[in-house]
Amino acid sequence: MLSGSRTYAVIALVAALLGLFFASTSTLDYASHLDRRLHDVHCSFIPGAAPTSEAEACRAAMYSPYSALMKDAYWGGIPISLFALGAFAFFTGFAAYLCAAGARAPSAAVKFFAAVSATPFLASVVMFTISLMKLEHFCKICVGIYVSSTLLMISGVLGLARLSSPLGQAEARPRLGFMFPVVWLLALGFTTLVPAVVYAGSVPDERPYLTQCGTLKVDPPANAELVTLRGARAVQPALLFEDPLCPTCKAFHERLVGEGIYERLDAKLSLFPLDSECNWMLNEPLHPGACIVAKAVLCGGEQSRQVLEWAYDQQTDISKAGKAGPNSLKALIRRRWGDALARCLDDRKTEVRLNNQLHFASDNSIPVSTPQVYLGKQRLCDEDTDLGLRFTLGQLAPEVLK
């Protein structure tokens, strides 16, 4: 494996090109959403595979707070894949240099490469841990970057191994001045920043679009008895339409909680289950059992938020029970929340309350998709509740981010 003096450099070049490719793909997906439309995203280990609408893990990663920096200042923030893009561009060039130099590559260059090739790996370890612990999903494009970074680090180690091997020690390598590593380091920093600077300098001004998605036409009627979800440090009235079995609502809720936004909202929740069992706006159930779970949230009383968060936490199991039938689902709810809440599910008052909430949604002509978010009376566009959330809040309700 160490027989060739260029082997490690070739591996490094392949890793850097691979990293460049995956980082480009990720950045392309991110940038395409700047037009405020929903796009399919790439989510495959196979370079060049077409984007797909069934790419929940990659979409979840993209919408997560960890996907970009400076989200308050730029709509969607500055995607971290841009930094990977710049770094891999540098590593591509440096690996090409090591390839060309072969056995004559200065040992300082090999050592420098070994040292800095660990940085993408360390960044990948951090992002991998976040994916594992926080997102509970692994985006394949991200995994592609992790693998490239790992390969790059391995190539650095192989380079070091080559230097210290008898063959390597026999190789005559020129000595370089101490300024070279400093210049290389500066070059690495520069190239890492360039794509992000270019991106930040060319992103469109999204501010005129933030208030173009309508306002609340009808106030909630008293008999709809919306669920109150007032945060501990609430400063901003908000209205949410959510479906407890909707994965996008779960991700949205987790983003709000994770970024400390939830505690700043004086939110009212109107349930909007995408289940034709109670929701006449659908011809077939998109989320079977969602009506029952919505009723469970209503029946939660003081514990409504806990019931909602339980539904989000256990969404996979609850959805399975929902598909199995109402009895399975009710049994699951009874096991977790007791007989009183289970009895409440079949109470006529609960049914009427949920129906009134659905009518409240129809009176306001909301899109039949969840979540729907209103800040005060201003409806947030769907794209501003995912990628552009922090930027939008910063513009329309800056106190929420304080």
Binding site: T27, A96, W280, S365
Partner: protein, 243 residues
């Protein structure tokens, strides 16, 4: 290559390798920078000059089912406007002479309009000459009221049978309509109920129900039902139509 020559060769090779590395780095960086700028500019263009409309998303609305034909809606619209429901005016209900005017259709055609509501509606029956709701009538009325789903309007069409004078029957029909309305108000907890319930009362001179309505869901399924009995009634139903 000897050990003495190697450093000189290395020194000669280093600038070329360095040049290759620098060129590749610059090309890779320039490529990524141009690509990033291109992607963002392209998104910006789509944002400012959209070529295609955004995909249409279904909008939440009241239910609309197959029986909401233009003819049905025309009558529904007239009823609602004539009965003061579709505006913020105080609800006043519709008396027989109004119905004659706004319906502008024959008795048969008027009743025919309600045929599609067979599964949705019910016939609340009364004793002869009476306007009280018995327990079964109350229960059926509540069942129908609370099975609202996506409907916007609730029809109450009260009637009196042909026995007795026209004046007496009109008054009786009116009282029956009111009985239904009062009971709904007592159970509904809905401040907007007047904007939802279309209240009509017909005397014996217009749109009598035929015996076939005995086959509908009635509040007295175990009792004898004939032309007389089925018209001592109030027909109630949510209407799943948008206007």
């Amino acid at each position: 290559m000897t050990s003495h020559e190697a450093p000189r060769d290395s020194a000669q090779a280093a600038p070329i390798a360095g040049l290759i590395g620098s060129v590749v780095t610059v090309l890779a960086l320039a490529g990524t920078a141009f690509a990033v700028r291109g992607w963002v500019s392209s998104a910006n263009e789509r944002l400012t000059t959209p070529e295609a409309e955004k995909p249409k998303v279904a909008i939440a609305d009241q239910s609309e089912v197959a029986y909401c034909t233009p003819r049905f809606k025309e009558v529904l619209d007239r009823v609602l406007h004539s009965c003061g429901l579709a505006s913020d005016e105080t609800r006043r209900g519709c008396k027989p002479s109004d119905v004659k005017t706004f319906a502008s259709i024959s008795d048969e055609d008027f009743n025919e309009l309600f045929t599609p509501l067979k599964d949705r509606g019910a016939v609340i029956q009364f004793d002869e000459g009476m306007d009280d709701l018995d327990p079964a009538a109350k229960k059926l009325l509540e069942d129908k009221w609370f099975a609202r789903k996506g409907a916007r309007y609730f029809f109450v069409v009260a009637r009196a049978s042909k026995s007795g004078t026209q004046t007496k029957n009109r008054a009786l029909s009116h009282r029956r309509a009111n009985s239904v309305m009062f009971h709904l108000k007592s159970v509904a907890d809905d401040p907007e109920i007047d904007k939802k319930v279309g209240l009509l009362w017909l005397g014996n001179e217009f749109a009598q129900l035929s015996k076939e309505y005995c086959g509908w869901q009635t509040s007295r399924p175990d009792k004898k039902c004939d032309d007389e009995a089925v018209n001592r009634s109030a027909f109630v139903s949510w209407v799943d139509c948008r206007l």
